[in-house]
Symmetry: C2
Amino acid sequence: MAASNKRQHTNPRQHANPAQPPAADLGAMVSGLLEETALWQSFLGTHRRLVERLAEQMQTDHGLPLEWFDVLIHLADEPGARLRQRELRDRMLLSESGVSRMLARMAAAGLLERRPADDDRRGVEIALTDAGAQALAAALESHRALVTTSFTDRLTATDRLALEHILAKLTDPAEG
Amino acid sequence: MAASNKRQHTNPRQHANPAQPPAADLGAMVSGLLEETALWQSFLGTHRRLVERLAEQMQTDHGLPLEWFDVLIHLADEPGARLRQRELRDRMLLSESGVSRMLARMAAAGLLERRPADDDRRGVEIALTDAGAQALAAALESHRALVTTSFTDRLTATDRLALEHILAKLTDPAEG
DNA sequence: CCGATATGCTTGCTCGCGCAAGCAGTGTAG
DNA sequence: CTACACTGCTTGCGCGAGCAAGCATATCGG
């Protein structure tokens, strides 16, 4: 199953620089790589398409960036719908400044409130406002529906189980 | 396997606005959503981690943004290592202006050349330079290696086949 | 041949991100 | 108590992205 170079590549302006291996067969190497990583490319493409679709729906149907919705979800999932900014940052895999500014925008939009945390006054605690809860409630169903139709329902139970295992393996922090 | 609301949520400042369904049980709905979409969340997280790792390696080891590398790959995979900008745009799922400027930067960095296409002088044709080919050749192996160890090798052949099918189902353009 | 429309690309604008520096509050050692 | 390191957040900066407008070329209808 090794790379079978199907294509003929004329290498552009080949001048055989001795400093680097001159990539005499760059084309073959590339198509080899593409074959080997075809599955990965497919993974990337699928991810991109799905996220795009979800983001677009969230934006057009509810006027909400998908990331905001994500914040609202995480927030509402906390007891009391309150969360320390630091906590959110971890959950979101977003930079500290990114979170800070996103929350500032969301607060400006009235979706949440920010105030100094009681126990540590350096920290900021965010809490869902009515408007935030309503926005979330309004968007929840259609988002869930789209995830369901675009993702969950396209897979059989077996598929889902397999995918779960696969993702678990890929997420494993141990480096190769 | 439906949503079993494991958690007790006190809904914040609940004031039963009649305009929207008051989301009396927002917390339950949210945890329901999170359960239902857990697999999707996992997919997102896995994607993010892997891409981050690949991008970081490409940047630190080869001084190349992963997107540039991608361009080089696509370019080298074309016969003659030449490609119309429009073609690239489709392959990259990136906006027209995005591609235009990325290519401008890459040309400035000497990795490729741009010149008006022969057959249609509105169009721009890009071609790999020596430097581009060398950069690509230099990065190819370690990138492939990292994809292999972080992705391919973590999965069994069965896993990979299953994933292939799964991704195919998810990519299917038919909307739910 | 000429005008109208379409296409491929570029550019001005604005936006959100990450990095690094800065700032206020916390915790710790002497 | 005071000095010092640390933490959580904010902010200035620069960058890359998308959108929309603009420009040159191509193409089609008359």
